[in-house]
Point group: C2
Chain length 129, copies 2
């Protein structure tokens, strides 16, 4: 097993999703496999540019390639998106839960911070002396 696979944590997926063209490529592939040429046809950039995006998506394991004659057919592999999804999972409560109570929570943290920062400052001051 290669190290990149073993230590996979979704970082590559996050990086891959940063580019709007690559997100659009994935959106295209949601409907089914497409050849590299067909994908390139859907964008205003040159074919080699798409080729590079596809290489990045391949390395992030977000797409899979299969050769058919001289065509390279690309299909979606949603697995790495699971990592993105599970990262997002930890934030879902922030907008699905009661917003008022969240606000209260943040406010109280804000107050804690105020006194904590003061205490920390004093502690550092003592240390320095």
């Amino acid at each position: 097993m290669r190290n990149r696979l073993a230590t996979y944590n979704g970082a590559a997926a996050f990086a891959a999703l940063a580019d709007p063209t690559r997100r659009a490529v994935l959106d295209l592939l949601r409907a089914g496999s497409l050849s590299a040429g067909q994908i390139a046809h859907a964008f205003p950039v040159s074919r080699p540019a798409i080729s590079k995006h596809l290489r990045l998506l391949r390395r992030a394991r977000l797409v899979e390639q299969r050769r058919l004659g001289r065509l390279r057919l690309y299909s979606l592999n949603p697995d790495p998106l699971k990592a993105v999804d599970s990262w997002l999972e930890r934030y879902r409560s922030f907008w699905s839960a009661n917003l008022a109570s969240l606000k209260r929570f943040v406010e109280s943290e804000y107050q804690n911070e105020k006194t904590a920062a003061r205490a920390r400052r004093k502690a550092r001051a003592r240390k320095r002396i």
Copy 2:
């Protein structure tokens, strides 16, 4: 209303999430507000580096800043993550649904592609003549 707000579509959020440090900053803020200094303290990079990350996160509306004396308190704003979540939503079926049927679907698309590509090639060939 500024244009950036009006045309907001989550692109900035995706770009912001590409960096592991920024994701970690958001993870920190999940527990409550923190000052810029406290955030910087949690990372092995310089404070200005964190300052730049925070600016990017602010521009992506993923964090909010509030001044308290000479402290700048940062808190999480999960709203832009909704856009990320809803983008991901369209992919969720790909791993929650029956994988066998998905496979069949992809296979059939693959077959369609094979003949479609052939037809398209011929069409283009005719056009060129």
